[in-house]
């Protein structure tokens, strides 16, 4: 089948997509966007998190066909050529990146959380951060520095 959608603001069209392929597979293997990760392909780890029409989803659980005509945002769309997105910079500054395999999914999930919280008027608190990121596994960091990074990002994004 043919799939037409928008990824990181650019229109994309791919042919010969199999029925059973996930959005994650299509992004990684057919569109040359391997930034979204494949740690479980079972909806359990969050490493494949992308925006689908503005809502974070596990792209491994989205059938490619469900993405038809929709807008997808991945980690590759967060930074500009010159500068990192504040969430990306905060993860680096806080030391929240070790192997980095969880990072792309966490960046998308964090961006969503911080954006929503700030829109509602306040940076996210610890308990909210933990709830919001409970679906994103990280095996390296023990999560402390991820919490630090989220708070740092919120602080910087609020100041903008």
């Amino acid at each position: 089948m043919r799939l037409t959608c928008t990824v990181n603001g650019s229109p994309q069209q791919v042919d010969d997509v199999w029925e059973g392929e996930s959005l994650l597979y299509v992004l990684r293997e057919r569109m040359g966007l391997p930034g979204s990760k494949n740690a479980c392909e079972q909806g359990e780890c969050g490493s494949c998190t992308v925006y689908l029409d503005g809502t974070p989803v596990c792209s491994c659980l989205v059938a490619a066909g469900q993405a038809e005509g929709r807008e997808i945002g991945t980690v590759e769309g967060m930074a500009t050529e010159e500068s990192l997105h504040p969430v990306q910079q905060a993860f680096l500054d806080a030391g929240a990146v070790q192997c980095g395999f969880c990072t792309p999914g966490l960046l998308v999930a964090t961006d969503d959380l911080v954006t929503r919280s700030l829109a509602a008027g306040a940076p996210p608190e610890d308990a909210e951060i933990r709830e919001a990121l409970a679906g994103n596994l990280c095996r390296c960091t023990g999560y402390e520095k991820i919490l630090d990074a989220v708070k740092l990002a919120a602080q910087r994004m609020a100041a903008r």
């Binding site: 990760k37 740690a39 479980c40 070790q98 792309p104 520095k145």
Partner: protein, 784 residues
């Protein structure tokens, strides 16, 4: 050596990253920007236009004879390019880290569920999977041997068990899986009086379940056939050269024709020390003449790497009424599963570190590793010490209770210190601040008494309690772990360092084969070069086999050993540069040093550009830590270990005693790291190691029934989430080890060892239950 004909998309390039930051600073990772941009290519991200996908057909049975394999139906599937079995392995049919006992593809017999039997390469991964499912394997299913002690033919012990356990004739005749019997290794430690007596004796048997490394990046890589008949392998791994050795032997090719490059690694924790898809992808690439990518999914990953050895451990501790340890007897059984992997070394650590950081005059340890038909077990962070720490620290608590003593007091009373003698007879010849680690933990503030928010109670957001039946407990544990390879292994690393001026700016390039798996070794390499060469810009060359071995990224050893090699190579480069400068200036070398891109001396600042011109100064050298020696096979005595790492934890838990739910409220950790080369990364290791220890204490276990894995998914094998991990208090001590570069100590494993036992102790204190098995499950707490 010939360069690869073609380079895949995602092949690693030189890493630069932000400039600046010598040792002791929080220098940022050179791969960090790539990682947050989603541009860092892991093994599973590699890609080539005409690549095929390889998949593995695995045995559904833990123990069976293969009567026949029919690959015909698979070959007939359109899109399939090759189907291989053991007949297609051109070189040695078996490989292994310590014993070459594991078939590349099953030969006649399968010995564990998930053992690779055949391979398929096809143009789409689903085609390859569908074809693999059509391979017809006729198995004669045998009854698996699933208990390590039964496998050795021992009687189940009881409390009066006194004699050495010997492997019986019966075991060798009736239950052996391998011709040489089920015993992989039996380590003995014998010191002092063989028949000691004591005022107070505690005896208990402990069990530790099988833990998985659960690194997030799946086993993956890409093999590219080369024009010279060899192969280029890009792979996520822990030790390129030991992989190369095993691949060469299986392929029947010399090392010049098997060239490895490290692909991006999504965590390792020991699980990538053995081969996984390495030889398989090379076989398929050489057969088809096309690049072949293999990438396991999560379920296959559970079958595709070795796990942490489950252990059964009987400990007997004797002490005086005042609390001085008189003796420890321990029998430790590690279930090694179907193939040896690193079981002998795990037995070595388990046995020689097996009573913890305490001084005990009379010690009698028997530590066994056995073959069974369970999944093979090998390296995982903490390597034999994680299991025994649960036992010896539980024993210290049990002994304290029997003596009516405070558990921390008892530990401090018996703690090792610099100058103490370990059970191997080795004198601890560098700082061993066990008492200070514990006292500092005690002095840290406690978390608030009771949670104000129901979400912070056991059961968390599911609101299972309003606080009734919730009990708090506090537990302490301390551990020590040998750093680097032990028992006489020639443990070295190779570093190549080049210094040159590029575009007017001095640049150092560091080339080692040391695997970066997430821990931040690439940062440490840059920091050392900056400090030693006085330059800001340091480039990290891709990790490959074009330079000599760096040894394994395991045993907390790379900062020490590869760090030592980089330091030594930098010193050699510096020596050459200063000699040139001395010649140019007429100053004695001894008055010159490198600083901020220049040779400086009294009233002299000579830019490196003027010293080097267009020349590059390059040095390659091997560096070794001081040698260790094999231990005596009858007594376990000898200079077995080069260094020890010490850490301690305090855990605070709330337990819902009605539902059996545990909430870890806070973890506190103290660790001596000798010298923190990158303090931020050190803290990251402590936090991550703590999480893995907590996971084993309360949730992580590969469940095996009749040799079959019951939970090969992240749905059923649970690792800590951000909801499970409490806030941490951490204090890092820096008591230099005079034998190590910069005085540093390996960091990564120690906190993984002391964390779980502290959590277990806290749950025990909260519930009053003996709790001798981890992970602790709700039914252990509610008695249902």
């Amino acid at each position: 050596m010939s360069a690869p004909a073609r380079t895949p998309a995602g092949a690693p390039g030189h890493l630069t990253g932000p400039a600046g930051g010598g040792i002791g600073t929080d220098a940022q990772r050179p791969d960090g920007t790539l990682k947050v941009r989603g541009e860092f290519a892991y093994g599973s991200d590699l890609w080539m236009e005409d690549m095929l996908w390889g998949v593995t057909l695995r045995s559904p049975h833990p123990y069976a004879r293969i009567r026949s394999i029919d690959v015909g139906p698979a070959l007939a599937v359109p899109g399939v390019h090759a189907v291989l079995t053991s007949d297609d392995v051109p070189g040695a049919k078996a490989y292994g880290l310590e014993l070459a006992d594991q078939p590349v593809l099953a030969v006649d017999v399968v010995r564990y569920q998930g053992e690779p039997v055949a391979l398929v390469a096809a143009d789409h991964p689903e085609t390859a999977r569908a074809a693999a499912a059509r391979i017809v394997v006729d198995y004669e299913v045998w009854e698996p041997v699933t208990d390590a002690i039964a496998a050795l033919g021992h009687p189940r012990w009881n409390a009066v068990h006194e004699d050495d356990a010997e492997v019986t004739e019966l075991s060798r005749e009736s239950a052996h899986l391998h011709p040489e019997g089920n015993l992989v290794r039996h380590l003995k430690v014998r010191t002092g009086d063989p028949s000691p007596t004591a005022d107070v004796v505690v005896v208990n048997t402990y069990e530790v379940g099988m833990q998985d490394q659960a690194f997030l990046g799946p086993e993956s890589g890409l093999a590219v056939p080369a024009e010279d008949g060899g192969v280029e392998l890009y792979v996520a791994t822990q030790w390129l050269h030991v992989d190369q050795r095993q691949i060469c032997s299986a392929l029947g090719l010399p090392p010049e024709q098997v060239r490895l490059t490290l692909a991006g690694v999504g965590g390792a924790f020991g699980g990538r020390e053995d081969l996984s898809m390495h030889v398989h992808a090379c076989l398929l690439a050489l057969r088809t003449g096309r690049p072949v990518k293999m990438s396991y999914n999560r379920e296959e990953s559970f079958f595709g790497h070795v796990h942490r050895h489950p252990a059964t451990m009987r400990y007997e501790h004797g002490a005086t009424r005042d609390g001085d340890l008189v003796y420890v007897k321990a029998e430790i059984y590690f279930d090694g599963g179907a193939y040896a992997s690193s079981t002998p070394a795990v037995v070595g650590n388990g046995g020689t570190m097996g009573i913890g950081p305490y001084v005990v005059p009379n010690v009698h340890v028997d530590c066994y590793g056995a073959y069974t038909n369970n999944p093979p077990c090998g390296a995982m962070r903490g390597f034999g010490s994680v299991q025994t720490a649960f036992a010896y620290e539980s024993q210290m608590d049990a002994l304290a209770a029997a003596l009516g003593m405070d558990p921390v007091e008892l530990r401090c009373r018996n703690a090792m210190e610099q100058g103490s003698t370990a059970i191997t007879g080795q004198v601890i010849d560098s700082p061993a601040p066990v008492v200070e680690l514990l006292r500092r933990l005690e002095a840290m503030p406690m978390p608030d008494a009771a949670p104000d928010d129901l979400r912070h109670m056991p059961g968390g957001v599911s609101n299972t309690t309003h606080g009734e039946g919730v009990r708090r407990g506090v537990g302490y544990a301390v551990s020590y772990k040998n750093v680097a390879f032990s028992e006489g292994f020639d443990d070295y690393s190779t570093a190549r360092v080049r210094l040159e001026v590029v575009g007017g700016e001095p640049v150092a390039t560091v080339h080692t084969a040391a695997a970066e798996v997430g821990q931040g070794l690439v940062t440490v390499e840059q920091q050392i070069a900056r400090t030693e060469l006085g330059v800001d810009r340091v480039v990290v060359h891709p990790k490959d086999t074009q330079v000599g071995s760096a040894g394994s990224t395991s045993a907390s050893r790379q900062t020490y050993v590869t760090g030592g090699a980089v330091k030594a190579a930098c010193e050699a480069v510096r020596g050459q540069v200063l000699a040139r400068a001395a010649e140019l200036t007429g100053r004695p070398v001894g008055e010159l040093r490198l600083f901020d891109g220049a040779v400086v001396g009294e009233g002299l600042e000579l830019p490196l550009a003027e010293v080097l011109g267009d020349d590059a100064v390059e040095e390659t050298l091997e560096w070794r830590h001081r040698p260790t020696e094999a231990i005596d096979p009858e007594t376990g005595q000898g200079f077995a270990h080069v260094q020890y790492a010490f850490s301690a934890h305090r855990a605070v838990v709330d337990v819902d005693t009605e539902l059996g739910l545990v909430k870890v409220v806070e973890m506190a950790c103290t660790q001596d790291v000798g010298k923190a080369i990158n303090p931020q990364a050190v803290i990251g290791q402590i936090q991550g190691g703590t999480a893995q220890g907590l996971g084993l204490a309360v949730m992580e276990e590969i469940l095996i029934r009749d040799g079959k894995v019951q939970n090969p998914s992240f749905t059923d094998y649970l690792i800590p989430t951000i909801l499970d991990m409490p806030p941490m208090r951490i204090e890092v001590l820096e008591y230099a080890d005079p034998h190590a570069p910069y005085g540093l100590r390996g960091v990564g494993e120690a906190p993984n060892i002391s964390s779980g036992p502290a959590v277990l102790a806290a749950i025990r204190q909260a519930t009053g239950l003996p709790l001798t098995r981890v992970p602790v499950r709700p039914e252990h707490l509610t008695g249902t």
